[in-house]
């Protein structure tokens, strides 16, 4: 399997999804991911910042000073490469969903 198409881990995928809408700082990412998954996934600080470090290293996101904020907070935004990676992952998931649905339909037809 090409590493370009290697599946992203769930926390990384959720982080890219969250940042696709707008730039966010660390805690806002945790809250948005909690909201996106209806409370199923709540990232811990260690997981979040470890993943952010790897995403920064891979240039999938970038960090910038958010001047609008009262507290000194750094925000993160998706890069072009990050957006491309998210699209690749979405295509992979769509393909899997289609394949799974086709198998389920075939099974139902066999049973009926």
């Amino acid at each position: 399997m090409n590493s370009e198409t290697k599946p992203l881990s769930e926390p990384v995928f959720l982080m890219l999804m969250s940042l696709a809408a707008k730039p966010r700082h660390g805690y806002a990412l945790i809250k948005d991911i909690e909201l996106l998954t209806a409370g199923r996934v709540r990232l811990t600080t260690g997981t979040l910042f470890g993943a952010l470090r790897r995403l920064l290293d891979d240039r999938l996101i970038e960090r910038f000073e958010d001047e609008d904020r009262i507290r000194d907070k750094k925000s993160y935004q998706l890069t072009e490469a990050g957006l491309r990676q998210l699209e690749i992952e979405l295509d992979r998931m769509k393909q899997l969903t289609r394949a799974a649905l086709a198998r389920l339909r075939a099974r139902e037809e066999e049973q009926s």
């Binding site: 370009e4 290697k6 660390g26 811990t44 260690g46 470890g50 891979d58 240039r59 507290r71």
Partner: protein, 165 residues
Amino acid sequence: MLLRIYPMEYRGWFADEMRTAFEEGIAERSGEGRVALLGFVFGELASLISGAAAEWAARFVYALYHSNRYIGSSCLPNPNRICVPGVSRELYAAAHRGRPGTLRAIDDSGWCANAHQTFVLASPLRRLAISICSSVLPIHPAPARRGHPAEYDRLRHDPKKVSGS
């Protein structure tokens, strides 16, 4: 205090943000009762310890092959070293002129300019160690995902752009 178990570079980048996120989490959970608060604190402590172990491992693997910081300046040539044989002039100049945030200098072999530089300047013993280690531990964990930035490719194939440096 627990943040001290992380590598220094990591603390420099994220310590303040991690502290803020932890404080905001505590403030939110404090209204949900003691059990929720304790669960949150233990979860955070466990993730900090496992996160620190993962960061030390990443730093150790990176330090085997490189001479610069593993966050931010990762893979770019070390500016404190001279341009050496084995690192092309274009690559060296391109990397020095580019901003670290927009440039990643990994060549076709999967080695970055910094790894080349480190290998060329290393003692014979260290070169042997690097060669042995690289057969087990990858120099760049996900080379295809990092890719070549467009700016790097442009500079690499158009030496005129960097002739001024």
